[in-house]
Amino acid sequence: MSKAIEVNNLKKSFGELQAVQGVSFSAEAGEVLSLLGPNGAGKSTTISMLSGLLTPSEGDASIMGHSISREPLLAKAALGVVPQDIALYPDLSARENLDFWGKMYGLRGGALKIRVDEVLEIIGLSDRQKDKVSTFSGGMKRRVNIGAALLHKPKVIIMDEPTVGIDPQSRRHILENVKQLNAQGMTVLYTTHYMEEAAELSNHIAIMDMGKVIAYGTHDELIRMVGEQTRIEVTLNMEAEKVLSSWRSTEGVSKIDSLDGKVTALVDDSNRVLPRLFEAASKHGVRITSVDIQEPNLETVFLHLTGRALRD
């Protein structure tokens, strides 16, 4: 398969801040590649460069073989971008919005009309096409937001955290949309900080942190990086600081981090390590109120790689 997206040593600095520090990855045509990482990891900056919003400080990338630096208009023509926030005209109808965005992608006349009808059908809003977008629910707006990126039948589509801040039903609808688009042969670059979304959708996952890709592979390949380790999540009756240093030096604990009142640890064998954690907690007068033991997942991988929990 040819490369639909190819990113080579992409860098972006804002003054002293190096937001993206030499990112490289690629996506084959027809696959879903997820960029997974916490807020501030550099995901949005990376896709802003890919979609032409930001100029790279260094490096280059190509979309369907077109360099974003040397052939930006050709690269953009092959690309559909679904922004994280709704980017539509609220005082125009759904149809007027799609008409306008279709024209921005070079569609005209009869071809535009036919394609707008098709997209309205795809997003299930044919019967509301004449209503202003401002009258739509959040989920309906999301659907139009996605539809506007599909008008020119792009080979590659970039979706920037499309499920942030929406209800579970709409989230599910969007995930199903992504699968359908991919099934039609579209290459999807999907950014998220929800590991379960990345796991469900992706052929490949690039985990980003601090402006770098710290791991790349299929879901199973990434999980195997953790080995036989287990991830346990412990809730305490007080701040974790009191016991954290003691637990960090406990035998069998390889990584440990505290976030939002919960302690996440990577341990070799939970059966042997847990009693030691209870004992140390007891010595410090700390009471453990809940324990959750999980099979290795992408959060475990992130903790394994960075020593930190995957932040929301």
Partner: protein, 422 residues
Amino acid sequence: MKIFDIAFKDLIRSTRSLFLIGMAFAAPLLLTALIYFAFGSIASGDMSMADIKVGVVNADVLPANSPLDVSLGENIRSMFFDDSVRSWITASDYADEAAAHGAVDAQEIGVAVIIPATFTKDYLAGKTDTSITILQDPTLTIGPTVVRDMVASLLDGVAGGGITIKVVSERMTVNGKTLEPAGIPSLIQRYINWYTDFQRALFHSLENAALVVTSPAPGGELSNDIQAMMGLVMAGQLIFFSFYTGAYAMMSILQESEEGTLERMFTTPTDRTTILAGKFLAVFITVILQGAVLLIAGHYLFKINWGEPGSLALSLLGQMFASVGLAVLLVSFIKTSKQAGPVFGGGLTMLGMLSGLFTANMNIDIFNTMGNFTPQGWVLKAWRLSLAGQPVSELIVPFVVLFAMGIVMFVIGARMFGKRFA
């Protein structure tokens, strides 16, 4: 082609913005209409003031060997019979005070002016206690007040003349000289000249008056003075709201940036110059449309003659270049649409005020001077010329200045936008 798509989309959005429609069309028309109904309808006869019925008893006799051609009493009397006041004052002569008193009692007249027989003689003799009696119907207020003010104004002048003669006479006596009767007419003439200039300086002359109410023209048409005033009032509104509309329309670029649609446009295969050009084109079209609609509305609603077609076109084009240029420049300095309110409200209102837009019909010197430094001031100059019926050749200078101002502001603003969205 995409430039037009972007401009068309912006125009569609503008037509759906009640605020923009209100500020671009409704506000200037309503404000002009208020002034039109306040003044224009008086002149067009829609609102009439009841005639003031005045009875005059002029017993004044021109003394023998008087330096005056006619008695002062006759001057006062003729003031009420003058053609210029005939539409609102009906004057009648009465033989004596008793007859006039009877007419007031019978409500045949509202006010009677009694001029004594020795009025001119006493005046020329330098007496300051000479007086005119005014009788009025106690049920009336406006008419007698107007008559009293007219007589008082004239008597102020007369009394001033008397005082002048007295003072000159006293000063000459102190210096061992005598004021000869033959010298009094020239002295009075000099006083009259000074008094006339003084009145003019107080805007009491026709030339300087802010508003001159004249009798209605036949057929209910606006008089020339009212028409000229309405033209300038409407021009002031047109200019102020044109600059406001331009700035507000340009603000859509900030709104689009906040809504995320501008960035989304940048992700499409459309270069940024095209996108910015489309945004600018929309502002050009909006300002031209607004100007055209207001000019047509002003012509048909307020009977304003905007001048020769060529002069009108140059004024409108100059206005468009200047308002779009200033809009682009202003908005290029603003980061968010929230900042735009105070900047537009404060900045454009201040500039408009300094340029004399709100006092356009008064032609005040200081605003004319300050207007030389503002685009609004030059647009007002252009419209003044066009409204005065000046040919295109007279509009060349203001148009060139406006074009140059517009281009300079546009280029600076566009460069700043270019950098911001690079």
